[in-house]
């Protein structure tokens, strides 16, 4: 067994939570172990996970034995893993972060978490730099939103051809929109971050908005919608105000928020190029 990979100065760490994982990787810290890497590479996509990171299995059923064998000196979790905390403490000290909870603003919480991780692992500079980069990227992307024509955006994930899940103001996508200076068309409350299932007819209440489709989209949904009189009558659809995004983790941290913002602008550019060409 290879010896645990270490970050430059800090202890060897493992993370059970994906939001922590992507933040660590973004700060250039390689954890010794993290959960559900197969799915992470498909859903969160970036940052890339080095091959040296050991896979701890499903997020819901963390493989404690595997974690014990890679001997981390510190384990990061989030509030969703509170029920496993006692078990994890048998292996190494545990530190927990809360980004997604009722009354918590995820973007600010993710910034706090990034700084805290930097402080804890001797990467304060990297953390500070990442925050600055994030603000700079959002500022840069703001300038490329002309094609939106100032309209709001509604980030949804199609459940099937009749229902969707919506990401509200208290979701990471909602906060990313706010930082881009875009209004979220969904103004009703959501129960921390997402709400489902909502009948597709609710889209008639946001005729002005751009629809941002977040994967996964079920294989038959778009085919069925293509021949739906209702779908085609929606002003958003008629004016082709639909943006199809690539895979993003809806429960991520700053890297996910940045990926969402980049994807949104890329989809907008792509659409502009397509309509010109």
């Amino acid at each position: 067994m290879a010896g645990p990979a270490r970050s430059a100065a800090g202890p060897s760490v493992a993370t059970v939570d994906w939001a922590v994982l992507e933040t660590l990787l973004a700060l250039g810290i390689t954890p010794v172990a993290a959960t559900e890497l197969l799915q992470f590479r498909e859903v969160a996509v970036e940052p890339a996970v080095p091959a040296s990171v050991a896979d701890l299995g499903l997020r819901g059923t963390v493989n404690f034995e595997m974690l014990r064998l890679v001997r981390p000196e510190l384990i990061f979790i989030s509030n969703f893993y509170a029920s496993s905390e006692a078990r994890l403490r048998l292996i190494a000290p545990v530190e927990s972060f809360t980004i997604y909870a009722r009354g918590v603003e995820p973007f600010a919480a993710a910034e706090q978490m990034t700084l805290a991780l930097g402080r804890r692992l001797g990467a304060e500079e990297a953390a500070q730099r990442y925050l600055t980069e994030t603000s700079a990227e959002f500022a840069a992307l703001r300038g490329r939103l002309g094609a939106l024509e100032g309209r709001p955006v509604i980030p949804i994930n199609l459940g099937d051809a009749r229902h969707f899940r919506v990401f509200g103001a208290d979701s990471m996508f909602g906060e990313a929109l706010a930082r881009l200076g875009i209004a979220n068309a969904w103004t009703e409350s959501t129960s921390y971050s997402a709400m489902a299932p909502i009948g597709l007819e609710a889209l008639a209440r946001v005729p002005e908005a751009w629809i941002a489709l977040i994967p996964p989209t079920p294989p038959d949904a778009m085919r069925i919608l293509g021949r739906s009189a209702f779908w085609n009558a929606l002003p958003n659809i008629a004016a082709r105000r639909v943006l199809t995004l690539d895979a993003i983790n809806p429960y991520g941290a700053l890297p996910a928020a940045r990926r969402f913002a980049r994807q949104l602008v890329a989809a907008l550019d792509h659409r502009g190029a397509a309509s010109r060409g």
Binding site: R205, I224, A229
Partner: protein, 661 residues
């Protein structure tokens, strides 16, 4: 003529409910919030919304309700079973499993035809359910019990597949909770011809259907090709139910309620029922659907319609269970001829105990790590012990408790398909957990335990109140358990459809996991096992007498209430604790007692001891498999329990066929 009077009065009785449904529909249309934005654009959009969303939804509710009502009536008539419908027969769960498997592994199949996929799953489920109940002459309670067992297996498999894949789950949960939102006429256009065909088929089968309500001998003497007619009617009924299920999702219990409402409204003869039951189903679903829209917000319903109908159907089943009579006298199959009795049962039990100990030791030392297979010794063993020991202990003790509870249930009811899982207690735990997840912002291990325990305890109390009521035999206890289970699961499926992290937490518990248990759970399991299973041997004489039926028990002088209440309470308590520890979906409580009986343990106390040991062994094995099969990924224990339990049931069934043939 009498017929004219009979028809006239019921027709009047229908007027009020029909008017209510209509008023609610009008209220839904009238109470819509105006659309924001440019009024000129909105006028067109409003029209589209009215004619392509609201109207198809009303029509879909009416047609789906009618189809489910008709299908329920056909099931009840052909099976002579007043509590048969698509949900109690396992059709909905079978269809859901088929759709889950297809969504994850063969999306092309879903894209090609959801209906065919769902129909295939429904047909397989109903075939297994009926085959399981065949040797008990399709006794209504046994049929519904088999349906529940098949539903549990299907649910365990679905949960595992969803957890392992993680993607596209939302569509399945939405579908599982049954929502009627429409944005086109696709669903009504698809359902109408099928409903018409179903009605025509039912009308053509009127004579055989009438005769099928008589007993088999009378029907045959009147010249009816019994099996052919039965299968034909069954096919029509499954097809109707599966089509509705594929199109709008799981709509529970309309098929159960509609024929009952029809009878209550005065329809007596089959000819009248064939008109009245679909009518009642249509009105029931329409009223429910309008209600969830009116009570919800401008954009979202209060709850998925299917879950709401289950909230009505559960109590209805509970109420109906008071009138149910078991048509087959209770008997334990193994006590019949041909079963070899063990000459020295305690020696055999000691042998099984040694086997269990050996298995536990192997599970403790043999495992996989980053470097492949390893036998843990020395320092490595000390490292892994705090993680391996609790889960082995919890798996073993939970298995023992469930198997003991199963033995009690099967002895008490005389029904070989009565497992503790159908008591509704574990589903109550799920409900408690769901409520906790909704109310408490940050959920920790203690709040989870409190929620699950509270839910289990509430259901347990209800069950005991039911069991203690005079005139409530063990059969009714079973039915009440199924009703409570259905009720709780309906609410759980609503939370699952929420699509956020809480749904995920609930799904994890549903799939059954020993992974997160620690020393606290291990001690809980050990103490509970000791305190609750050991005293059962004091009542072992009751266990020998109870399966012989009420008459014998009374003649021998068994305390009538206590001899029922004590085993029922013990079984519920054992199940509640076990499902807190390892989740609700293990079938070990069903399988353990059978394994013991087939091994030749005939007397109550021998079967109880052997069954507890074997149940523990099955769960320790399942836990070990879940740990090593896909290392480092862990497969939910519920899957292995289902994989061990499912084939066993099929085997049981093939044995039954031999004996009947």
């Amino acid at each position: 003529m009498a017929r004219g009077r009979v028809l006239q009065r019921p027709a009047l009785r229908w007027l009020l409910p029909a008017a209510l449904a209509l008023v609610l529909i009008v209220a839904v249309i009238a109470s819509r919030a105006p659309l924001p934005g440019d009024p000129a654009v909105n006028a067109a959009l409003e029209r589209i919304l009215l004619w392509h969303s609201l109207m198809p939804r009303f029509v879909t509710a009416l047609i789906s309700g009618a189809a489910l009502g008709l299908s329920g009536l056909l099931f009840q008539q052909v099976l002579r079973n007043p509590i048969a419908d698509a949900s109690t027969l396992g059709i909905a769960s079978g269809a859901q499993l088929a759709l889950t498997v297809a969504t994850v592994y063969a999306p092309a199949l879903i894209a090609a035809s959801r209906e065919t996929t769902a129909l295939a799953g429904g047909l397989v489920a109903v075939a297994i359910v009926l085959a399981l109940a065949w040797r008990r002459k399709l006794d209504p309670v046994t049929v519904v019990l088999s349906g529940m067992v098949i539903s549990l297996i299907a649910a365990a498999l679905s949960a595992t597949i969803v957890l392992a894949k993680g993607e596209y789950v939302l569509s399945l949960f939405i579908w599982g909770a049954g929502s009627l939102n429409q944005q086109s006429w696709d669903a009504p256009l698809m359902l109408v011809p099928r409903l018409v065909l179903g009605c025509v088929a039912a009308a053509l089968l009127l004579r055989p259907l009438t005769l099928l309500a008589l007993d088999d001998d009378s029907a045959r003497s009147l010249g009816l090709a019994l099996h052919g007619a039965r299968i034909l009617v069954l096919l029509v009924a499954v097809w109707l139910a599966a089509t509705v299920t594929a199109e709008v999702g799981v709509i529970g219990f309309v098929g159960l309620a509609a024929p009952m409402i029809a009878r209550a409204a005065g329809a007596r003869r089959l000819r009248d029922l064939l008109i009245a039951a679909p009518f009642a189903g249509a009105l029931l679903l329409s009223v429910t659907d309008s209600a969830v829209q009116l009570l919800g917000s401008a954009t979202a319903d209060l709850a998925p319609t299917g879950a709401a109908t289950a909230l009505i159907g559960g109590p209805l089943l509970l109420w109906m269970s008071r009138r149910m009579v078991q048509t087959v006298p209770p008997q334990l199959d193994g006590t019949r001829q041909g079963m070899a009795r063990l000459r020295r049962p305690w020696l055999a039990i000691a042998t099984i105990g040694c086997g269990l100990a050996l298995l536990s030791v192997i599970a403790l030392v043999l495992g996989r790590g980053p470097g492949g297979w390893s036998l843990a010794t020395g320092a490595l063993f000390a490292d892994l012990l705090p993680f391996r020991a609790p889960r082995i202990i919890v798996a073993g003790t939970a298995g023992a408790m469930l198997a003991a509870a199963g033995t009690l249930m099967q002895r008490l009811t005389g029904n070989p398909l009565a497992g503790p899982e159908v008591l509704g207690v574990s589903a109550g735990g799920g409900l408690g957990l769901a409520v906790m997840l909704l109310l408490v912002p940050a959920i920790g291990p203690l709040t989870m335990l409190a929620g699950a325990a509270g839910g289990s305890f509430a259901v347990l109390l209800v069950m005991l109140l039911i069991a203690a009521r005079p005139g409530y035999g063990p059969t009714r206890l079973l039915l009440a358990g199924i009703a409570m289970g259905a009720l709780c699961m309906a609410i759980v499926s609503t939370v699952l459809a929420q699509g956020d992290m809480r749904s995920y937490a609930l799904l994890l518990w549903l799939s059954g996991s020993t992974n997160r248990v620690g020393a606290f759970e291990a001690w809980t399991g050990l103490v509970a096992c000791l305190l609750l299973v050991a005293p059962l041997f004091l009542f072992s004489r009751w266990l020998d007498i109870l399966p012989l039926g009420d008459g014998v028990s009374r003649a021998i002088g068994l305390p009538r209430i206590a001899s029922r209440l004590l085993p029922a309470a013990s079984a519920a308590l054992l199940t509640g604790i076990a499902s807190l520890l390892i989740g609700p979906l293990s079938l070990v409580g069903l399988v353990g007692p059978h394994l013991a009986r087939l091994s030749g343990f005939v007397q109550g106390r021998h079967q109880l001891a052997a069954s507890a040991m074997l149940g523990a062994a099955v769960m320790v094995l399942a836990d070990w498999l879940s740990r090593i099969v896909a290392f480092p990924y862990q497969v939910p224990v519920g899957l292995f329990a289902a994989l061990i339990g499912g084939p066993y049931l099929i085997w049981l069934l093939s044995r039954g066929a031999d004996r009947n043939g």
